[in-house]
Symmetry: C2
Subunit: 380 residues, 2 copies
């Protein structure tokens, strides 16, 4: 059972990745706050709860938790949702000894963490991520937040959970598209920090994509190790932690351009990673061979759904991205598999070239598939 | 020029109390973040800005600050106001090097501090309090927050300012009722921690209430010293800091019962302090003589406007108060002037008795005044 430690100046906690964690949730929560009385509030979505609620409740004895619901989807990651959850907690008499449990995907994790950060100026919480994306990335590292109309995650807090409990059982009910999208963050972890993970993803693509529990557990654990290591070295994103934004600068712009509706976060990150890799190659930072390997793996874990957007609009949308520090945009570009560099002198023209190149690749990819389908149809 | 240092594990900063600080605001802000480029965003109310905006802007050269407006009043201390301010910042291109300035009373200070705590997961801010209440109490100590429908300050963050700059000049334009209400927090500081301040307030009531700058500066500085000292010893309100809640348990209930409209915060705290003192006397914790001195001083700095509420409703409203930790209510009761005790075994009946006693005192006070007025009228 992989248990990964995360240590920062403000918090130390374990991320546990294993089958069967939900069955023992109540006991695990009790162990975290030994001796202290608390009241458990679970924040989840109706969809997740329908599938796994019974198993969770069974672990609680007489002291049943209060369950608060949040509709799924990025458009609910807003302050009005947060306020409604806070009002429900207050109505239920929650005080500073409430313990929140974020039981769901990235949106639920980010918003519940933010709620925990600000409810009565801070209560503890535990992450129980149910999507691959949340297990490999968003549940780890203490970043919590909410969107504004002006952009994603523009408000939030650093607030670490007491623990992350990633039960790999729940991945069995995850739609395949979400599994694939989440794996783009694992590819990212490989590209920026861990060549061995990258190679594992190359060699075991079939097993991983088929949802083989052993292979998935390996990938989740390796991805979490990358994130925990990076966050332990730079909690507040003053330097190293920025490398986690690889693929995200244009990725966020793509999400904004498509109104956060058309693509899954991981898909947008996949396209953004392709653009960043292309830019690294254009700049001569990464060899053509390595760049091709990266792009091939991203596409192998596809299909990434195509989208319509003008390249110059995408570039404009990066300008209001929160990664923009004092007017100069930081861009994370690959040097070789496992090593990236934070570059601060990327011009608008370079970004435009990279975005156009990515859009061209998207068109050739989808036309290739259309052709293949046509050929296959004819062959029948 | 009194400069008071506040030191906690998470932040150290100065609170400066002096005449003329607004005239040099820009230079003072620059000194705080030496070398680092930043963009100043001032959050204020139209009323304050009309009176003092020109003076503030004159201190800025070519780099004029962006001014964001917030309507005055407790009912605007809500997440929707916060969201609107955050959207305006994002529209103006604010990034992590924005510096927020809270220029106003307690509501503006609390909400701007909260905005600074969560905008892009934290930007720096400076408190420039313009009411006596904000200068002596709310601008100091790093508590920021917003109200919910369910109660006051139920969400928020601990986020310290880089500095507090309290310009005593602005108190000249403060309505007398607000000055008097703010002074209730100074009386509180005396009762809980500083017998000398209490005695100063007794001896110099005429000068202080007349708005004499020297006397007010003394009172503001002494009150801030109490708060800075308490917060330095217990930043997160795990123990000692709770004493600052003297008068606030019932005070908040009174504000809730009157929909935050009828009384100023300081007035509600005044009534709450009277009830707490009465309760201390009923319990035999404080002598009748000391209790009478406390109540006399609170009334001397009145009039505290009367309000209508049933005592049992007030008691019920303390139950959802955020000071409620794990079901047992903490109450701060006086032992003698300058010394209080945090009591956790106050029963509902005791609270009810104290609230009824306070309401009775209120009636006798106002009937006394009606009688006096009648007598005076007759005498004309």
């Amino acid at each position: 059972m992989p248990v990964i430690a995360l240590k920062t100046p403000s918090a130390s906690y374990d991320i546990t990745i294993a089958s069967g964690l939900l069955k023992t949730l109540s006991q695990r929560l009790k162990r975290l706050k030994a001796g202290k009385p608390y009241r458990v509030f679970i924040v989840t979505s109706p969809e997740i709860w329908k599938l796994w609620g019974k198993r969770v409740l069974a672990s609680f004895g007489k002291e049943q938790p209060t369950v608060l619901f949040l509709p799924a989807g990025e458009r609910h990651k807003r302050l009005r949702t947060l306020e409604s959850l806070a009002e429900q907690m207050a109505e239920a008499g929650a005080d500073r000894d409430a313990l929140l449990v974020a039981f769901g995907g990235g949106v639920i994790g980010d918003l519940t963490g933010f709620l925990a950060a600000i409810y009565m100026r801070g209560v503890p919480y535990v992450q129980v991520p149910t999507t691959l994306l949340a297990q490999v990335d968003s549940s780890v590292g203490g970043k919590t937040g909410s969107n504004l109309a002006a952009g994603k995650n523009l408000i939030g807090s650093f607030h670490h959970p007491l623990a992350v409990l990633a039960d790999t059982d729940v991945l069995a009910t995850l739609p395949k598209a979400e599994l694939r999208a989440g794996l783009q963050e694992s590819i990212k972890a490989g590209v920026i920090y861990d060549a061995k993970l990258f190679s594992y993803l190359e060699r075991n693509a079939d097993a991983v994509l088929a949802g083989d529990v052993k292979a998935l557990t390996h990938v989740v654990a390796a991805s979490v190790r990358v994130k925990a290591d990076v966050v332990s070295k730079d909690e507040r994103e003053n330097g190293l932690r920025m490398i986690l934004n690889y693929g995200h600068t244009l990725g966020h712009a793509i999400e904004a351009a498509t109104n956060y509706k058309q693509l899954l976060h991981g898909e947008a990150v996949g396209w953004g990673s392709i653009a960043a890799t292309g830019l690294g190659w254009m700049r001569g930072m990464v060899s053509e061979k390595e760049a091709e390997k990266i792009i091939a793996l991203i596409l192998r874990y596809g299909p990434l759904r195509p989208f319509r957007a003008r390249a110059d609009k995408l570039v404009a949308l990066t300008g209001s991205d929160k990664k923009n520090r004092s007017g100069s945009l930081s861009f994370v570009l690959p040097k070789k598999i496992g090593v990236v560099e934070i570059v601060r002198d990327v011009t608008k023209d370079e970004m435009l070239a990279a975005a156009e190149w990515m859009m061209a690749l998207m068109k050739s990819e989808s036309s290739l598939k259309t052709k293949t389908k046509t050929v296959k149809k004819k062959a029948r």
